[in-house]
């Protein structure tokens, strides 16, 4: 790992510069008035030594692969390469794999000849990068060290620099959002160039396995997926999670004794912390067969072992702690005077809960339910393991159903190339999912905020 060695070297350099600058600054401290602490001089110089070098390293890491490939293409062996295209890219990537030591079993002879050139170019690129980065670090550090004088405003400089770094860190969140939006919109744009949007959104036939190249839109109608997602996530899962979550929240906040509450609250948190792959395994192993037997017993011949019911039930249990904790919070946020006034008028606890506390907490609970739906809709592992891969439009909960997230996984874990309509369809599904969850979250936050304003 050359990169790690380089980082360690850089940190070592920075600490040397820190010591040097501090030692110099200590000298002034004895002589004249000083404006900054010696350590602040140290930090200024150390940051000057590290930051430009790190920036160079990042730029080099991004640019290096292209430069290395260029160098390889200029070697005589590369003259035999086919013109740019898929075959050429395969040969080059095989040569690269050979050069880095992950040799594959079946390798074209041409790649084998190119591999040494690759190895040499990579090594050269490593050396240039190392020397350039270290030289820049030493140069910038020395320049900064030379400017350490009694009057240097090291304190303001280092503080401005660190504040800028903190600001840069907070920009990462915006960059991530922008990256998500850009990549989803970009790939979906390419998808919608081949498949019309209304075909995708309202088409009722989904079977990407039987895709044909000249008319991919015929088998990429996503309506059954949207229905399955809605049916599993928003109907069945909520039918389980909302009543149970609400009841347990009412019990916890109104009836439970302090000790019970201290015991049950962490238990719910444990339930919330279980990874979804565990729920999925549990669902596939025990819930799905049980639901199928129930469907058979009810006289349904087509009861599936990958039913919407099973996925929805497991998902409901998964989401239950979340609903319960939000409902708990909303109930607690209701002003105490309301409940006490009702009790003082002679209402029983259950009357108070039903007629005073619940109506007051309703907007908060509704917001929580919206958030829960948004989570259920985006939940992946449970439906991958419990729901079906086949898209059907059916209101029978015992029939098989599939969801958007399940199809994204199925589309992207095959061995398709990156540009096929299948992979692009996955990004279009991702964009739809993103937009829907975003809308649900915004609506939920608006509800909760209004509730809070009114509640005082």
């Amino acid at each position: 790992m050359a990169g790690i060695t380089l980082l360690v070297l850089l940190i070592g350099l920075a600490s040397i510069f820190w010591q040097l600058a501090r030692a110099r600054a200590v000298q002034f401290r004895r002589a004249v008035r000083f404006g900054s602490l010696p350590a602040q001089h140290g930090w200024t110089v150390a940051l000057w030594a590290v930051l430009p070098a790190l920036a160079l390293l990042v730029v080099w890491q991004i640019a290096a692969p292209a430069l290395v490939t260029d160098a390889v293409l200029r070697t005589p062996a590369a003259a035999d390469l086919p013109p740019p295209g898929f075959a050429r890219a395969t040969l080059l990537s095989q040569a690269r794999a050979l050069a880095t030591g992950h040799g594959a079993e079946s390798v074209e002879p041409l790649s084998r000849r190119l591999a040494p050139a690759y190895a040499a170019a990579t090594r050269r690129s490593h050396w240039i990068a190392t020397v350039a980065v270290l030289a820049l670090a030493i140069g910038a550090g020395a320049a900064a060290l030379a400017r350490v004088r009694a009057g240097t405003p090291a304190r303001t400089r280092v503080e401005r620099l660190v504040t800028a770094l903190l600001f840069a860190a907070s920009l990462v969140a915006i960059l991530t959002t922008a990256g998500i939006l850009f990549s989803l919109v970009w790939e979906s744009g390419r998808f919608f160039a081949t498949v019309p949007a209304q075909r995708f959104l309202f088409g009722t036939h989904w079977s990407p396995q039987s895709i044909v190249d000249d008319a991919p839109g015929d088998v990429l109608g996503a309506l059954p997926l949207f229905w399955g997602t809605f049916f599993i996530g928003a109907v069945i899962a909520m039918a389980v999670a909302v009543p149970l979550g609400l009841l347990s929240a009412i019990y916890l906040s109104q009836y439970a004794a302090g000790s019970t509450r201290r015991l049950l609250k962490p238990a719910l948190e444990v339930l919330a912390g279980v990874p979804t792959v565990v729920y999925g395994y549990f669902g596939a192993l025990t819930v799905a067969p049980a639901v199928r037997r129930l469907g058979m017993a009810l006289g349904m011949a087509d009861a599936s072992s990958e039913s919407a019911m099973a996925a929805g039930l497991v998902m409901g249990v998964m989401i239950l702690p979340f609903v319960s904790s939000i409902a708990d919070d909303s109930l607690i946020a209701v002003p105490v005077e309301l409940g006490e006034a009702s009790l003082a008028l002679g209402a029983t606890t259950s009357e108070t809960v039903r007629q005073v506390l619940l109506p007051a907490a309703l907007p908060g609970v509704a917001g929580g339910v919206l958030l829960a739906i948004s989570r259920a809709v985006g939940e992946t592992m449970i439906v991958v393991m419990v729901a079906s891969a086949v898209a059907t439009l059916s209101v029978n909960p015992f029939a098989s159903a599939t969801t958007v997230t399940r199809q994204i996984i199925d589309l992207l874990t095959g061995e398709a190339t990156f540009d096929s309509p299948k992979t692009l369809a996955a990004f279009a599904l991702g964009l739809t999912l993103f937009v829907v969850t975003l809308a649900l979250n915004i609506a939920a936050l608006a509800l909760v905020r209004r509730h809070r304003v009114r509640g005082g």
């Binding site: 907070s170 990462v172 998500i180 912390g273 279980v274 990874p275 395994y281």
Partner: protein, 368 residues
């Protein structure tokens, strides 16, 4: 409430009952006579495996080779290596039994299987399956282990922590202590809150398009997994760290300011040490979430069959939750208890992390 608890208990009990079997393996006694080997079988795989199969046939009749695990020859090889004198005499060694025997011995099964077990009983035994904790994935359930997946998870988590915690804390400090109220900071806040609520699979799509597509990083690598999960945990850490920083009493800030500390000194010398436990709790809980996350890792290709430990950040690897998912898809009955055992390991790791966070929080609250 009771239903929720019942679900939790049922889930844990189901998995515990099945998973315990995954830590135990059935062994079968196998007499080995090195003298019968015309020329001593070398340590190379195929020759040794053939020799051990032949020994099984001699001991248990035709079909004897199907009683022992595919990996039985490795046990014989290791024993021979540990004690070279054995190579000249006859000895009896307990080797891992095949999946069919293992299952029938533990749970019973068809009458035929039970009859076979009854016949073999004097030769069968149980031992702790050390291979499960030290081995990597394998096609044969009796040889499959979780060490490779565990190492992949650790590498991924290391990348995630190193990136997400410093960036997240820095962003939180900026937003709480320095940010002016303007449109930019509003935009940052809105995007952080939205990122925290976005489905994890979207981050997988981002990782696929950005890290694999645009930057050309290697597929299936812990580095890419770590980067993707770092973006996913970042908003959680920012939110937790902001809460912790906001919880520091304003009087501390004013006192530090009053004795002449600069804004940066106030933050780093006085506010951060007090906020640190809260920040770390948030980081631990974020790590626990990332450790159990599967979907984004599937999308960036960490689902390959890896029969070895990754050893480096850029080599293909798999992670513990992905391993659970892969095993749950296997048809072989022996993988059911392996899956449950892997889940026990994962839950134990999560419980440990959450336990540390809870104890830490309690201790800080007591001090405050």
């Amino acid at each position: 409430m009771i239903v929720a608890l019942a679900c939790l208990i049922y889930l844990l009990v189901t998995i515990a009952v099945q998973g315990v079997g995954g830590f135990v393996r059935t062994t079968i006694a196998l007499p080995i006579d090195m003298a019968t080997a015309s020329r001593g079988p070398g340590p190379s795989g195929p020759a040794m495996a053939g020799f051990v199969d032949a020994a099984a046939v001699r001991a248990y009749g035709p079909g004897g080779a199907r009683l022992i695990s595919d990996g039985a020859w490795m046990a014989v090889r290791d024993t021979l290596r540990a004690d070279p004198t054995l190579a000249r005499r006859r000895f009896v060694i307990h080797v891992p039994a095949s999946t069919a025997i293992d299952m029938a011995y533990k749970h019973g099964g068809t009458p035929a299987a039970d009859a076979m077990i009854a016949r073999l009983r004097p030769h069968l035994g149980s031992e702790l399956n050390t291979g499960f904790l030290t081995g990597a994935d394998a096609t044969d359930p009796t040889r499959a282990g979780i060490a490779g997946a565990l190492e992949g998870s650790l590498l991924t988590m290391a990348v995630t922590l190193l990136l997400a915690v410093p960036t997240g804390v820095a962003a939180a400090v900026y937003l709480e202590e320095f940010a002016p109220r303007n449109r930019w900071t509003d935009l940052i806040e809105v995007s952080i809150n939205n990122l925290a609520a976005i489905p994890s699979i979207i981050f997988g799509l981002l990782g696929l398009a950005l890290f694999l597509g645009a930057l050309g990083l290697p597929r299936s690598a812990p580095l890419v997994g770590g980067l993707t999960l770092a973006l996913m945990t970042l908003p959680m850490i920012v939110i937790a760290a902001r809460g912790a920083i906001r919880g520091v009493a304003p009087s501390v800030r004013e006192a530090a300011m009053g004795i002449g500390a600069s804004p940066l000194q106030v933050v780093f010398h006085h506010v951060m040490p007090l906020a640190l436990p809260g920040v770390l709790t948030g980081a631990i809980i974020g790590t626990a979430r990332a450790l159990g996350e599967t979907a984004p890792l599937l999308l960036i290709g960490m689902r390959a069959f890896i029969a070895g430990s990754p050893g480096s950040l850029t080599r293909p690897a798999t992670a513990l939750p992905v391993q659970i998912f892969l095993w749950s898809d296997q048809v072989d009955r022996g993988f059911v208890e392996k899956t449950s055992a892997a889940i026990i390991v994962l839950l134990a790791a999560l419980l440990l992390l959450n336990g540390v966070a809870v104890v830490w929080r309690a201790r800080v609250e007591r001090r405050a």
